[in-house]
Each structure stands twice: as structure tokens, then as C-alpha cells.
Subunit: 133 residues, 4 copies
């Protein structure tokens, strides 16, 4: 984790959990999205504003390592921080913690910066600033 | 059900099922969507083509009655047919059947017809025709 | 709404929104679940505790009326309160509000009370108390 | 891909697609699940039967590389095959193809074999056989 990591609470829903009584692996991408969105909001550039400026950050890679079973109604915290910030791409790293500070999962999403026409473009300064803190 | 009902197979996924070992109620809207989409496709007007013509059919009401528990890996069939077709709105009815022809759930979605600017408009003739068969 | 309504904030995710740029109708059941869960938690009986006591409250009916388009990153509030509380069944009502207090959607879920063997049973007193406030 | 790769059709739903008009990255895990489940079914050991024998194969890692945008109503095919089969773990590899045989995404899921008590155990012979074809 780095200095500007943002930590966001997550509550596990019934519909997140499968018949093993564990959170289904398909639920984690939402938690990563929540973490990433709150990172951007807390640093002053909500992803919605970025899109309004004409930039998009689609996910080009997703990785998750599921370390310990997460249960219904668990109150988790997701730690999110940027890494590998390049001219037109960046990575977000995630760490999912339970209430006893145990690491339940880790992962990353890789993104490219696109303009409205879908071309890869250099990311705007305002975005670069909040990612390189 | 009516004469032109379309029946589509559905396989229940692991991620559809919650810790009661039943399909979560949140999974059914996808099955309704599959049934409705296949009704339109089989009658010659895929919903995608309707959007390309400049019309949209957002869901304005959703109802589902969950009659019997649906389990992981069940092979269901969804019967879908239109009802209450008006100038600018329509309803789709759904019946979810298991392999022994038992009715597992019933429901409906109500839709309005919008143009690209989001105004309610009279539905195009081609749509009316496939709904009033 | 009734006296003991519980109001819970909801943030709309990117993955909740479809290509109409509106929250997909399939996203709402999660928000209803969040509202219902927080009602129970705030009244002292989290649903998780109810299951630990050996009782289950599966959804037997779901209804939602979609009144106005909900957009990405909207900050909503879901108002949730019980109604039609009977010996072995209950209804939860929901109202989804935006930041200007506009009603974006309304709906309900109907539930029956089951024991571990899946039989319909009279709901425990503790549950009845928090529903009949 | 290897000799015993199983190929399964996938239709992209409206609720899979986000406001970029691309399939949301959160939709792919379902397609991987479908591919993996059909691999096991076609080789004679549906995952459901494996659980009935007392074994579980939770996902311990998920990776996906999103190569080209997938659109609403696209008819994809998912190619799925096992790799890295060890005593108590295995990997499934996936390739997502569009109708013109373009590779839209690749990925893998890693799994461990557990018994009913949640301990890591040597996988049963029947499973090993269908993975080492």
C-alpha cells in the first residue's frame, strides 16, 4: 500500500454469496470498482467527471487472488491505490481486509486512457496528478 | 401462454445460487431478459435492431412470483409472450418451467416505447406486428 | 412510509448502468436487499442473526416500478419499512429517492418465514417485534 | 488451446453492457464459469456431481485480459480447457471468440480441491481423468 491509499467499507450482500456460503468470486470486481471510484473521488476527480471531460478508463486486465473465504454480512474494507502510472495507462491495486485486519484478497485492474472516439490518448494532467501523489 | 409463446432454455449458474442453495431472486430478471430477447429475435425483430431503428423499450415495471426453489445446474425453460400491447407500451409475461414441467416462477415486465431523445412515442409498425401475432 | 422507516444511502456503480446510460432494472433488487438488511440491523436483529436462530426469509414476490432514470454515480437513498406482517409472512416496502428528494422507484418484496427444514413456520417473537414497531 | 477444448456459445445480454456500450468487465467471470461447467459436463463429470461426491473446486485466482470491446447481443464462443493439473489444484484457461474468430479476451481461473470440511485434498481420480485428457 502507498501513502495515499484510500480505504472504503464494503458490506457483503446475500446475493454476493454462493452455496459454498462464501462470497462468489464474481462479487469482487464490484468491490474493486467501489475502491477505485472512492480513490478518485477522495482525490478530487470522480470518475464521472473524467468521463464528462471526454476521457474513459476501461479495464484492460483484471486479476484477483482469493486468499480466505468471505462470508455473508462480513464488513470488509477495501484498500485501493494506483501503481504503474504511464502516459496512457495505469494500474489500481487492491487489498481486501476483514475486521481483524486479515488480508482476504488482493488484486489489480489495469486501465488505458481513451478519448470519446475510442483512441488511446495521453491522460489529462488532472488525472496524472491524482495518480502520482 | 398464447399461441406465439417462445420457449428458451436456461441453465442455472453457480453464481446465481445463494447460501440457501436456491437461485437468488436477483437472478430471475436475467432469465426474463433472455426470454424476451429470444421472443423478439424469433419473430424477426431482435431488440438490437429496434434500437438501431431509434427505439428503446426500457422496463418500467417488474414483477416476479417465486413459486418453487430453483437449484444449481437446473435446466429450466422460460416461456415468454407479449400481452397488453398499447400504442406506446407493452407487457411481456414469463413462465419458468423445470424439466418436469412444473411452474417454478411467473412474472411480467412492463415497457414503454421511447425515441432517441427519451420521449414516449408510438411504437413502430414492425414491433406492433410481432407483439400482436 | 411509516414511523420506523430506515433510510440507507446507495451509490450507483458503473456496472449497474446499461447502454441507455440508466441503471439497469436488474440493479434494483440489490438496493432493496441493502434497505431491508439495514432495516433489520438498525432494529436490532440483523438477518444473519435470524438465520443463526434457524429462520429464513426467502423472497416469494418482487415488484418494482421504475419511475425516473437513475444515472451512474447518483447518490440515492432507499427508504425501507415492513408492511402486511402476518404469522409467517411479511412484506417490505421500498422507496428510492435521489438527492432532490424525487421518488425514482417504488417496490416491495414479499417473504415467508421458513425453518431449517424448509417448512413455513410462525415467525419468532423477536422478528415480529421489529416488524410491528 | 488443447485437443480437448470445449467450445460453448455465449449471448451478450443488455444487463452485461455498460454505458461505454461495451460488455462490462464484471460480465466475463460468468462466461468463464459457463465454459468451465460445459467442459466438465461434456467430459462426463458435471461440477454438480463433483459436489455430490463431496468435493469442491473454489476459484483461488482469476485473471482476464480484455482485448477488444464486446457489444450487446454479440454471439461469442468461449473455448475452455484445463492446464497445470496438480494433485490438489488445477487451472482452466479461456479464450473468448467473436463470430469472425477474433480473440476478444483471454484468461484463467485457478482452483483448489477441497473436501466437505474445507480441507485441501487430493482430487478424485474421475476428476483427474477428465482434466488430463
Amino acid at each position: 500500500m502507498q501513502r495515499h491509499t484510500v480505504i472504503t467499507p464494503i458490506r457483503v450482500l446475500y446475493s454476493d454469496v454462493d452455496q459454498m456460503k462464501w462470497a462468489n468470486h464474481g462479487a469482487y470486481h464490484r468491490w474493486f470498482e467501489i475502491g477505485r471510484a472512492e480513490y478518485m473521488r477522495k482525490h478530487g476527480l470522480p470518475y464521472k467527471s473524467l468521463e464528462e471531460m471526454g476521457y474513459f478508463m476501461p479495464v484492460t486486465e483484471l486479476y484477483c487472488k482469493f486468499l480466505k473465504p468471505i462470508k455473508y454480512d462480513d464488513l470488509l474494507r477495501i484498500a485501493s491505490w494506483p501503481s504503474s502510472v504511464k502516459k496512457a495507462s495505469m494500474r489500481f491495486e487492491y487489498k481486501l481486509l476483514n475486521e481483524r485486519e486479515e488480508i482476504m484478497a488482493t488484486g489489480f485492474t489495469h486501465h488505458v486512457c481513451l478519448d470519446r472516439s475510442g483512441r488511446i490518448v495521453r491522460m489529462p494532467e488532472r488525472l496524472k496528478e491524482i495518480l502520482e501523489v
